[in-house]
């Protein structure tokens, strides 16, 4: 690969300056599980690769104000190793750890999953359901946006030139609250989601659902946060009637394509089923935290 330079800045400001100076010729690198494949295929020939992993804020998991700050370039394996994060946000960690093989987990990051902007990205529905906020830095300073706002279409993000995701912030988890993520793939491992569903619930003292966030992946050009699906179970104890309403609302939120991994009809049907199952898991987990 000719005329590529490599830089590993140790502060976000250095990375921002390098990115601004290089312009469109530069690419940021976290885990590289997408970038290096694109380099090899000749789809990209950046003049400069800026490795973000030596920036302290971009790596590791930290507690902050009851919630968590995840360095955006942190590999999946490190999320799994963080017991407190796993305990607080099991759905987010499970979703992140469904990405690729053990080897890929050694590298693949949440920022990469978000910014590669695949409609089928496993971690994104879980992050959206969890109310995750992305800290974006760039030449115009720092801004925070919901995880839902990163991808705007397949392979396209809302990031301006020179910007990158530095951190992903998850809120504190209160009592009677929990999340879950489920996906469907044709194999048992190492495949791309045909449907993914992230659910995050808060229950009231009587076990009724006081707040719900339900995010659907791989059933549209970007992840769908379905208010109808949330409304379908609000105030319920997730009885069969509520699950039936959820199933129907989740199906109604789907705008999938048909491809080799599944037809639009199949994806829509499975979205309803997975919404039910993920909601049940989140509900059971929330009850255990009463």
């Amino acid at each position: 690969m000719p005329q590529t330079e490599y830089l590993a800045p140790t502060t976000a400001d250095q990375a921002i300056a390098a990115l601004a100076a290089a312009g469109a010729a530069a690419r940021v690198l976290s885990g590289g599980t997408d970038l290096l494949v694109q380099l090899r295929a000749g789809r990209l020939a950046p003049g400069l690769i800026i490795d973000l992993k030596r920036i302290p804020e971009a790596i590791g998991v930290r507690r902050e104000g009851g919630g968590f700050v995840i360095g955006a370039s942190t590999p999946g394996v490190m999320l799994g190793e963080h017991l407190a994060l796993r305990e607080a946000w099991p759905g987010v960690v499970e979703a992140a750890q469904l990405i690729g093989s053990t080897q890929v987990q050694g590298r693949a990051s949440l920022a990469g999953n978000l910014c590669n902007a695949s409609p089928a990205a496993d971690s994104v529905p879980a992050l959206v359901a969890a109310d995750a906020v992305c800290v974006i830095v760039g030449p115009n300073g720092r801004r925070e946006v919901p995880a839902l706002a990163i991808a705007i279409g397949p392979g396209k993000t809302s990031l301006a030139p020179g910007e990158f995701v530095l951190e992903i912030r998850l809120p504190a988890v209160g009592a009677r609250s929990a999340d879950a993520y489920l996906r469907s793939i044709p194999r048992t491992e190492m495949d791309i989601a045909v449907v993914g569903v992230g659910v995050s619930l808060i229950l009231d003292g009587g076990g009724s659902i006081a707040r719900a966030r339900i995010a659907l992946g791989a059933v549209g050009p970007t992840v769908v946060l379905s208010e109808d699906a949330a409304a379908a179970i609000l105030g319920s104890v997730l009885d069969e009637a509520a699950l039936e309403r959820l199933d129907s609302a989740a199906r109604g939120a789907c705008r999938p394509i048909s491809d080799k991994r599944g037809t639009a009809e199949f994806r829509t049907r499975i979205a309803g089923v997975l919404a039910r199952r993920a909601a049940k898991i989140a509900y059971e987990r929330a009850l255990l935290r009463a």
């Binding site: 690969m1 050694g106 590298r107």
Partner: protein, 163 residues
């Protein structure tokens, strides 16, 4: 002419220094700069696991990592597995169970299995199969591989007890 990047790392316990072009993968640097040709390139896209190495204790595909990223890192490859000519228990068990035919995927599987047993000395068969799902084999199939890993794990646990 591209500026070459100087990299200092520890490979199989030895300090190494080498020069690399910035776009070169760790796999290519291991093979072409350091002469460690045990790590193989199957797919070059992180799907097959033949290039598996351990970096700072974590399993990665060396084809998905730039050599320049290895600065200051501790890297373990298949060449560091046997100690002074004595095979690692996993290597012995692969021979005993005939868990290879052409052998192209074997270095990657051995390194991946070693990483598994480092974090989980007593894995279930199911855990072992999931852990090794990123290592593809086109000839032996997986059953003998799994049996060899389970047997090696048992032997290593026993060795620890009697040590």
């Amino acid at each position: 002419m591209t500026k070459r990047t100087h990299v200092s790392a520890v490979v199989n316990g030895d300090a190494v220094d080498f020069l690399t072009d910035p776009g070169v993968t760790l796999l290519d640097a291991l093979r072409d700069e350091l002469g460690l040709t045990g790590s193989k390139e199957g797919c070059g896209s992180g799907d097959c696991g033949a290039c598996s190495v351990i970096v700072d204790g974590r399993l990665v595909c060396s084809c998905l990592m730039l050599a320049a990223e290895a600065e200051g890192r501790r890297i373990e490859t298949i060449e560091g597995m046997a100690e002074g000519g004595v095979l690692h228990p996993l290597q012995s068990k692969f021979l005993e169970h005939a868990a290879l035919q052409c052998g192209f995927c074997t270095p990657g599987i051995l390194v991946a299995a070693k990483a598994l047993l480092a974090v989980n000395p007593d894995p279930t068969e199911s855990e072992t199969r999931y852990w090794l799902a990123g290592n593809l084999c086109r000839c032996t199939g997986y059953d003998k591989v799994i049996r060899a890993v389970m047997d090696a794990a048992a032997e290593m646990r026993q060795a620890k007890v009697t040590a």
